[in-house]
Symmetry: C2
Subunit: 306 residues, 2 copies
């Protein structure tokens, strides 16, 4: 059997189930949570970006360096923790030193902005350029927001806009002029750490939108044992007019946050900038999208590797 | 300028020097050390293995899984800390699921033996199979042994034998029958965590032998600002007779430990199994090897990526 027959999430499930020991943390959230005693917990996330899969050959080096850290910060933000220490492993061919320097400038640029220290890593030779970032964050014990806490009747919220990164990627791919903001959103996603801290005391479950809005809502459903119903017309879509909105909800790399919260917090959450209520947690399982009082027929939830 | 013109260590130096902020830890040891308050410190190491560079295509999957964790445990052992939590990122083509399962069996086998929990990671598609392991360990505050503590007149010790992995690799490459122990040492390096804990209260500086005995001694010299003089005839070489001993001291992947310790501990250290005194720390800089009262002319210190 090939990996593609079980899929990316199937593969992860198989790897999890092969463990012989009871794990002290657990695989499945945006970050692993490690209990560090009375006061603190550590959050750890690892992300790999591969040339030709996650980014095109000749992608601007500064942007790529910035983005490779941004996606990890987004994972820490998804659990409402503070990113602190980064580890960078780069596999590369004998490329130009100037490219690597520009890449590192982008990486350090965002690291400085978020107060993150690069503490180590590895450099290896490879015919395919790839980048693995491990980022460690900290949180007050018990304060990390997991995917598993959503309760029936909770409201479902999203930060920012959905589909800008997908539209940006389409505009780049098809050489469409304009749509600079979308292109920028694709090339330079900005982690929603500030928003995360604004909502952390209200959120029952949270995840970042990396695979696609629907796919990531489904992750919350799976971990919380609930269903999520999204009101299509309430989704704060990107303005780009050349992309079908139904593709935007399954296009990945928004790096916005989706979170659930008890209805009693609707007032305070609706008053926060850049936060929009898009649906409700229901009994059952899975994600449904309602448009004009009818359930939308969803063809594709989000991006899959295999 | 190409990366090969500055070399692997030159590249790391450039990356370090580009940081705009004073780092709370530091790049340069086997692991980064993160201060976690009064009692504990965290040790973090990241290693990437790439097909065609670190291992051959069709390498036995179980062995590869085991080895990819072993090299990281060895880094934690080099600082005399306890390995605890692992993160595994694998980039792979659409290969057979059975191969990945066998790989994971090997990984979990060693994880179980050392009490390590796999807490997370990433799976991505790539045309080149590569593995990045991030391993986090813990230590009592201030007890991690660094590369930087060697003092003039300290004794220099090594654990186990030197050159077995190199001999094993040569035997595999050249299809030489026999030498099973060497081949096993190459395929299944066993991290010297037990030895590390036996010597941790005496060692002033320590490193694991991954790049090659001389290269790794040079890392201690660089970090401690000292010279190391090795007595060639005292090195506990591998018995394999078809490999030149002078190649063994620059052949990598022994995953033994080299450490320095004050002379007053010679008695206790010489009584520990599998620990051999091979030289002395001197004033000055660099590594020299004395054979028959003459300084050996060293052509190659160890393995370099670029």
């Amino acid at each position: 059997m090939k990996i593609s027959e079980v899929g990316e999430f199937g593969l992860i499930e198989i790897i999890k189930n092969m463990a012989n020991r009871k794990l002290s943390g657990g695989i499945g959230d945006d970050c692993a949570v490690i209990d560090m005693g009375k006061e603190e917990e550590l959050l750890v996330t690892t992300d790999t970006l591969v040339e030709g899969v996650h980014f095109l050959k000749n992608t601007d080096a500064f942007n790529l360096g910035r983005k490779s850290l941004a996606v990890s910060i987004s994972d820490i933000a998804a659990m409402a923790a503070l990113p602190k220490w980064a580890f960078l492993s780069i596999s590369l061919s004998d490329m130009k030193l100037e490219y690597v320097k520009a890449f590192m400038k982008g990486f350090y640029f965002l690291a400085d902005e978020f107060g993150i220290d690069l503490l180590g890593g590895d450099t290896t030779k490879s015919s395919v350029f790839s980048i693995t970032v491990t980022l460690i964050g900290v949180n007050e014990k018990g304060k990390s927001v997991k995917r598993s806490g959503a309760k029936v009747k909770d409201s479902v919220y999203v930060t920012g806009k959905i589909g800008c990164s997908y539209a940006g990627l389409e505009a780049i791919r098809k050489n469409i002029d304009g749509y600079e903001e979308c292109k920028e959103r694709h090339n330079n996603p900005y982690p929603r750490l500030k928003e995360s801290f604004s909502v952390k005391n209200y959120a029952s479950a949270m995840i970042d939108v990396s695979d696609g809005l629907l796919q990531d809502c489904l992750h919350i459903c799976e971990c919380s044992g609930v269903a999520i119903e999204i009101d299509f017309d309430k989704i704060p879509f990107c303005d780009a007019d050349f992309v079908d909105k139904e593709n935007m909800i399954s296009g990945g790399e928004d790096y916005e946050l989706v979170f659930c919260a008890p209805v009693k917090y609707d007032g305070v959450l609706n008053s926060i900038d850049n936060v929009t209520k898009i649906g409700e947690v229901k009994e059952g399982f899975g994600v449904s999208v309602i448009k004009n009082s009818k359930q939308l027929n969803i063809k594709r939830l989000g991006f899959k590797h295999f």
